[in-house]
């Protein structure tokens, strides 16, 4: 009898508290994992921390594949009338999401937080990826840049100074020639690997003095002389047997730690993987320059979905804001290798200690001063433009088409898909 009484009391207590406390807002958060490592687990830990400090909001992080799959899910869910609340999208997809009207402008939220003063601590270079034709739709969260990795042991072996990585295109080719190993006409060790991606083609175009697109995102300059020159340079690396014809980011970092290539271009997101896997002395540096030093940004930013009630949008904003506070920005950066999105994250004590123990982590941040326009192509239909660029890159460096013809085709295709937006 007494047992019954106790149980009844407990049941009553549970009921009562759940009646008194307001229903918490539940936020569904779609996030991709773009680099190696248990990022999904870290994301869960971050959400738990948010949930424990915000009793009226419950965030449910939902792993959604890579960046393209995350947009796919967010878009199909939105079209079916059941959108998530928050998503982590790559720069190209923010244009698509805004064009499809599935995300909302964040201008009014930012205004309410104090406008410019609120944005001030974020790196300007990263905010470049958050706007669609001048209007802010996102807040930077996990950001990266390409950086240059090199094997110091191989530098020594080839008689190169391990503390002086190549700083220009000319040096890059010179070093690659010294570092590549050939046996009977076959290259057995590559001088350098540049993953096949519009991201790195953009870097070369900008370093050669060109630009990929205009500010309004309605025009591309893919067949400019600067772009053709950039692609011709990349092609010459392959033609001279210094670089393999086609590697993706993962292939390159695997080749680098396996010692199959002496140098590589890769994302800062690979720092942790290389640190944990390389069995040799290595270093990182800025990307080599040509006409000018320039680097694109990459990675993901947080957006709030359209088509959800205002109170959930407000809760979503609370979550986004919290996720990019200095402490969280520092935690995420230390765990993943992404660049912390704001200046003051580097003042967090743990971050200070981390950077001291692993100075490579600072190279990407310092490279941000060379960011020109964020992550190109920043246009409408950006995924398609990216594909045209990658196609041109693949075709040209495989020697199947000249750099000029490849880029003329890419430009013509880009003009076709951008026509409706003019």
């Amino acid at each position: 009898m007494r047992k019954f009484f106790v149980i009844a009391l407990v049941v009553f207590a549970v009921f009562a508290t759940s009646l008194i406390a307001a229903d918490p807002v539940i936020l569904r958060f779609y996030f991709p994992v773009g680099v190696a490592g248990p990022l999904a687990r870290y994301m869960g830990e971050l959400a738990d921390k948010f949930n424990s400090t915000h009793p009226d909001i419950i965030v449910e992080p939902i792993y959604s594949g890579g960046y393209p799959e995350t947009l796919q899910r967010a878009l199909t869910a939105s079209k079916a009338g059941n959108p998530p609340d928050v998503a982590l999208l790559t720069a190209a997809d923010i244009w698509t999401a805004a064009d499809e009207k599935i995300i909302i402008s964040l201008e009014s939220f930012i205004e309410a937080e104090g406008g410019e003063t609120f944005l001030e601590p974020y790196f300007q270079a990263f905010l470049e990826d958050c706007d669609v034709a001048g209007e802010l739709y996102a807040i930077p969260f996990q950001k990266s840049t390409p950086i240059f990795y090199y094997n110091k042991d191989m530098f020594r072996e080839a008689g190169l100074d391990p503390d002086r990585p190549p700083s220009t295109w000319t040096e890059l080719k010179e070093y690659a020639t010294k570092l590549a190993k050939k046996e009977g006409g076959n290259t057995v060790r590559w001088g350098v690997e540049i993953p096949i991606d519009q991201w790195l083609l953009s870097a070369f175009i900008m370093q050669n003095g060109g630009l990929v697109n205009n500010q309004a995102g309605t025009e591309t300059y893919l067949n400019s002389p600067e772009a053709i020159g950039a692609l011709e340079f990349m092609r010459s690396l392959v033609a001279e047997g210094l670089m393999p014809a086609r590697r993706l980011f993962g292939d390159s970092s695997a080749d680098f730690v396996a010692g199959t290539t002496a140098m590589m271009y890769n994302s800062t997101g690979s720092l942790t993987f290389v640190r944990d896997s390389a069995t040799f002395d290595w270093g990182v540096a800025y990307l080599p320059e040509n006409v000018r030093r320039a680097v694109p940004t990459g990675g993901g930013q947080l957006v709030i979905m359209a088509g959800i009630p205002a109170e959930r949008q407000k809760a979503a904003w609370e979550f986004i804001k919290w996720m990019t506070l200095p402490e969280q920005a520092a935690t995420w950066s230390m765990k993943t290798g992404y660049v912390a999105v704001r200046e003051d994250a580097f003042d967090v004590p743990e971050m200070k200690a981390y950077v001291e123990g692993f100075p490579f982590a600072i190279v990407a941040r310092e490279q941000l001063q060379f960011v020109l326009v964020g992550e190109p192509p920043a246009t409408h239909a950006a995924r398609q433009i990216s594909r045209f660029m990658t196609d041109a890159l693949e075709g040209a460096i495989a020697g199947m088409i000249s750099a000029k013809d490849a880029l003329n085709t890419a430009q013509a295709e880009a003009e076709r898909v951008l026509r409706p937006y003019r």
Binding site: N186, T187, V188, A258, R383, R387, E394, V417, Y421
Partner: protein
């Protein structure tokens, strides 16, 4: 009013097929009609679409990429269907004999069919790797050229995709051929032996003709399969290098779910649908006219 007996029988029949018919309409016929409809629209700024008639088809058939995709698909279909069928038939004939460990052989050849193709493709990526892949190691042991970058150069990328498909499907076709072989009456062979027929004559005059319904079915299945497989392309090459392994279904996926260009994706889907429809007609027509049945 009472329905006549005949009508009640009809009604019962319709009622019984209703559940599957509803599913067919919702998941097959409606999407087909909708694809045809969507293929007449073009995406415009601001998330709206504009009716453009056949302009999507006009653009597609005129584009170099689409022609290349169709050509790739033809190469892939021929390249994977013919070897897979021949291998399937050979394995079936060999493993229809009384052999020691016959079960183990059958199992090991059928086994690839049971692995999801996406998972198998992940494994093959490692086998195909230029620097540490097993395939190049084996080639170098055989003293052959062993520095092939299988997945990243032409024509090796397409060859790799074809190889995985043959590996994947041959076992399944073997199983179908085996069931065909076992339905052939032993007494025919006994009679042939009495008449003094040799092994080739038995194969040519008994096995092949009596296997023709199976062969016909397998061939059509294989062709249709070859238009529907996209997983290995997605996992292993993403259509590259330079679109030389981009096949029709991957093209549809890219346009539909990466570029969100529903117009082009729907047009390409309609093309795929028409191709498969033609083969389905051939199948039903052929069943009635070409195939030799023992009656």
């Amino acid at each position: 009013m009472r329905l006549s007996r005949k009508w009640r029988t009809y009604l019962l029949g319709y009622l019984l097929i209703l559940p599957s018919f509803v599913f067919l309409i919702v998941f097959t016929y409606y999407p087909v009609v909708r694809s045809v409809w969507l293929s007449l629209f073009q995406k415009m700024a601001g998330g709206v679409t504009k009716f453009v008639g056949l302009a999507n088809y006009e653009y597609m058939f005129g584009s170099r990429l689409f022609r290349q995709v169709m050509q790739n698909n033809l190469v892939y279909s021929l390249g994977s269907v013919i070897p897979a069928i021949i291998l399937g038939l050979v394995f079936a004939i060999l493993l229809n004999k009384r052999l020691k460990l016959r079960g183990a052989f059958r199992f090991s050849i059928f086994y690839p069919t049971m692995i999801p193709i996406a998972a198998a493709s992940m494994v093959w990526i490692f086998l195909f790797s230029q620097s540490y892949g097993l395939l190049n190691k084996v080639l170098s042991l055989l003293g052959l050229s062993s520095n092939i970058d299988w997945l990243n150069t032409t024509p090796y990328a397409m060859l790799s995709i074809i190889l995985v498909s043959v590996w994947k499907f041959a076992g399944y076709y073997m199983l179908l051929f085996l069931s065909g072989l076992q339905s052939i009456d032993e007494s025919l062979y006994e009679a042939a032996v009495l008449e003094g027929a040799n092994a080739w004559q038995k194969f040519r005059k008994i096995t092949l003709p009596l296997l023709s319904p199976t062969t016909f079915f397998v061939t059509l299945m294989a062709i249709i399969n070859s238009f529907q497989s996209v997983d290995q392309v997605y996992v292993m090459t993403r259509g590259g290098p330079y679109n030389t392994t981009n096949v029709l279904l991957y093209y549809i996926y890219q346009n539909g779910f990466v570029y969100w260009d529903t117009g082009i994706a729907s047009s390409a889907s309609v093309v795929l649908f028409s191709i498969l429809l033609v083969f389905t007609f051939i199948y039903y027509f052929g069943l009635q006219h070409f195939v030799h049945y023992e009656r």
